[in-house]
Amino acid sequence: MTEFALILVSTVLVNNFVLVRFLGLCPFMGVSRSLETATGMALATTFVLTLSSVASYLANHFLLEPLGLEYLRTITFILVIAVVVQFTELVVHKTSPLLYQVLGIFLPLITTNCAVLGVALLNVQQGHGFVQSAVFGFGAAAGFSLVLVLFAAMRERIVHADVPAAFRGPAITLVTAGLMSLAFMGFSGLVKG
């Protein structure tokens, strides 16, 4: 149990995917303009990351390792993740229109993101088991959601702030992201891993 808690704290705060590992930066910059879309994206990411983490573990453990095809990991993971997400999207669209409305357009957007592939590959690199992979995926997504929502809330306020002309737009956004990253780096040493 402590181990899972450690993985969670480690992925959410210490080795945050966006601010420390610098994965998944495009949705971080792209959909953080308003809190509403950021929340939708955060939910979709949580869903996709957990799912793809588990699916890629299964593919690696039961298909690639027995056949000695570890060098095909990247392409296999991309394939598996894309299919699993697409399949889930179809099922969700049919069974729960409400959930589809919330996640809908964000699901395909996040599927091919580097954070998703990053989670799958890091799982293998760190030798995680099945449950550990799931927790790792969920933790990574929770960390992503946390900073995405925080960042979106900040950007909504920055729009109304009196920013010097030279810094307006993307410049102040990048500066804010950098400061946030610095703040999160402060967590390093909290948990080893």
Binding site: L63, L67, L79, V80, V83, L90, V91, H93
Partner: protein, 197 residues
């Protein structure tokens, strides 16, 4: 090497099958009434009905929020078919939304065009081709004749001209306007009967 190719090939094939099955099995039917209405609308995307395009207007009709007589490009013909579909009485076109005209296409007078791209932004169906400071032109087969590109043009170089009937756009006249097509009818029925037997 061979194993790798086999594994990837089989896996991709399997996934493809699963997805194609899933897309059939979990197919989501849209609003069938709105679909049918949308099929009857002329798809000019002109917005004269006060909706963003033909599809939103079709959805509004299906939801009972809009009347069937708000489509000037479709004219009486569309109103009649819509009335048939929805079991309503046909009514005259609502003049507030504009008047029915014959089908037009936009033509850019190319020597006058200054290449400002304003008409490209206005076109709802991407039928105008061009780049900044380059002459623009209209892809005639894509143009729906919605006239949305006319007001933004700063040099008034867009003309709306009636569509020339050619071998591709010509259609049989509707039966009530061409009552004596009996000979053609019998021939077709005869052929169909032979085929069935």
């Amino acid at each position: 090497m061979v194993t790798a190719m086999l594994v990837l090939g089989i896996m991709s094939g399997l996934f493809g099958l699963v997805l194609s099955y899933a897309s059939k099995r979990f197919k989501v039917e849209g609003d069938p009434v709105a679909d049918q209405i949308n099929d009857l609308l002329p798809q000019t995307q002109c917005g004269q009905c006060n909706y963003a395009g033909c599809r939103p207007y079709a959805e509004a009709i299906a939801a009972g929020k809009a009347d069937i007589n708000q489509c000037p490009p479709g004219g009486e013909e569309t109103i009649r078919t819509l009335a048939d579909l929805l079991d309503m009485d046909p009514k005259p076109l609502n003049q507030e939304h504009g008047q029915h005209k014959e089908k037009l296409v936009a033509v850019i007078i190319e020597p006058v065009c200054i290449g400002c791209t304003l008409c490209i932004q206005a076109c709802p169906v991407d039928a105008i081709l061009g780049a900044p400071k380059q002459m623009h032109t209209v892809i005639e087969s894509e143009c729906t004749g919605c006239e949305l590109c006319v007001p933004p043009c700063p040099v008034d170089c867009i003309d709306m001209v009636p569509l020339q009937k050619d071998i591709f756009s010509w259609k049989w006249p509707f039966p009530d306007s061409a009552p004596d097509s009996r000979n053609g009818d019998t021939a077709i029925h005869g052929a169909a009967g032979d085929h069935g037997a």
